[in-house]
Symmetry: C2
Subunit: 386 residues, 2 copies
Amino acid sequence: MENFVFHNPTKLVFGKDTVEKIGEELRKNGIKKVLMIYGGGSIKKNGVYEKVVRSLHDNGITKVELSGIRPNPVLSKVHEAIAVAKKEQVEAILAVGGGSVVDSGKAIAAGYYYEGDIWDAFIGKYAVKKALPLYVVLTMSATGTEMNGNGVITNEETLEKLGFGSKYVYPVVSIVDPTVQYSLPRDQVVYGAIDAISHVMEHYFDVAGSALIDSIDEGIIRTIMSATEKVIEEPENYEARANLCLATTLALNGLTKMGTTGGDWSSHDLQHPLSALKPEVAHGAGLAVVFPAWMTYVRDLISEKLIKFGKNILNLGDDATAERTIDELRRWYKSVGAPITLKELGFTQEDVQKVTQIASKHAPLGKVKRLDTHDIESIYRIAYEF
Amino acid sequence: MENFVFHNPTKLVFGKDTVEKIGEELRKNGIKKVLMIYGGGSIKKNGVYEKVVRSLHDNGITKVELSGIRPNPVLSKVHEAIAVAKKEQVEAILAVGGGSVVDSGKAIAAGYYYEGDIWDAFIGKYAVKKALPLYVVLTMSATGTEMNGNGVITNEETLEKLGFGSKYVYPVVSIVDPTVQYSLPRDQVVYGAIDAISHVMEHYFDVAGSALIDSIDEGIIRTIMSATEKVIEEPENYEARANLCLATTLALNGLTKMGTTGGDWSSHDLQHPLSALKPEVAHGAGLAVVFPAWMTYVRDLISEKLIKFGKNILNLGDDATAERTIDELRRWYKSVGAPITLKELGFTQEDVQKVTQIASKHAPLGKVKRLDTHDIESIYRIAYEF
């Protein structure tokens, strides 16, 4: 087990009918004016918008709205929002939506106090020193961003999809009401679940770890898999939905990171170019394709862990081998409707070259094996077609 | 799954050679003078005292010392420390020790700003509104107090052992260095482990819960059991020690409470009178005796959960029954050297009457079954002798 520091100040308000509490949480902290950001308007269909607006009104909080944040959120929108936040002198950012909206909220919150281009925080040129307080009403569980200090944004000009992290952008309060996710399309649920599984796996397959966190990781992944199957069958099954939501939050709030070196993260680094090149590729869909391909490529380096994964998560018993574990994981991804090849995602052989080029910009990637350009291309080739 | 709020602002600094970081953590937060409290002086033998003092000195922090806090810490000592803290105008409490020292630190921190007797916070007459910041260097993992807002103190006059909780007494920073626990006596390790297991069980056997947290609970308890066995054999096995330390912290930092109604806690309520009557009875030793007795008494109400416990934690497979699970848990307690009857703890039949009387003051206890005086006495009778 590696030394670590865990410090997660986010207040998580979890459960049925909790959306209505947002106004009170803001008021208790003395906030009177927020920039409320959201996506394409699904919150107006599922009732969340109305509940939030009423709660703000009832608590005497003024809002400025900015909508239209899209999946794989882009830097230009962040710039636009920072300008509005400055002009309107808001006291906090209120992100109502899924991972894209919350991640944008983090970049906006940090950008508010930075004179330069906030993209500097993503390319390592600026260490965030201050940020507006961020409040979250989560409408889709997937990335875990509701309870951590990280965000991912795509720069449309450079085609780079990069992350930044800062202790200043942990949400002050995050409200997670599983019932507002009843109406999510099936593919979003599945890709969210795969994203969360992948977050746990990045830590599980780290070069360091512990028996304790391994056992917690295994419990989280098992729960996500069974809850996902249940939610697909019965979208309004509260228990399954709540288990899935909470598991995705715990997957990336620092718990699964304890005692590791911080995670491998090469599969995420290999996914980001996919969505950067084809923004219609959901993050979770890309991960379903690249993570098993990465496992296959580094199989001999993680074979013991793969066998443990097969036994303790996939119930393979004494039949578990590294290869069977990967096959079974892929089989499960397929069973819930996820793609498992780049071809299914619409990539051509030429595209493989392109994403290799984008991913290689930040090579070497990962820790289990430090991936160079050759390794990266090899993994994309494995992912291309089985 | 019940609705819940999780908000744990403690910064956990975990790992080898982390004791030395205490001065820096205080300095970064602008603190210049602390009341340093500790117990019977074991920290002078294992090197922790020297490391803390040097770290404070190197960071320009002045200290006032108060030692002699004993296991099952008493209210009179808390009063004494509050007087010193006020007289010396300290800016923070620095607790260096195990659960007793940290719990005393919480009462002192809260008492500093209260005009009346801080015992009022324990009997529900005062809701804490402010406290001095509390910093912790943990030297024995057991109660989980290093990462929560609760403390337990014994009032020697009334023989009551009661707890209080407040968001203001979460430690600001807790340093957990597993290596400083290498020299702990075996019985303290075992009782610490049983205390932590009991904390998880209070939530596991709650009247509400979730598949996710159950699976995490199971992983934590399994890890505590195997790590305890290893640490008994090899006290300086870092991995086992680190797993045990981290598991005890996670057992009561709010994670295992998520989605429950807050835990049953009647076994703890039944243990406290044991230590109040006989202060030499370690908290974990008392729990090893009363928890299985409680399980036996309410067996039919929790039989499904007991079977799950037997299968997923004790590896009983398809042979798991409620009765076998309780037997096996007791057998494990015995195997690591814990008492499993009140008789072994030196209690007489007359003492059973006395503890029944003390425990009944706060009846009904628990949630799985609301225990009245008759129930309480029956459980103590089961615990008396097998």
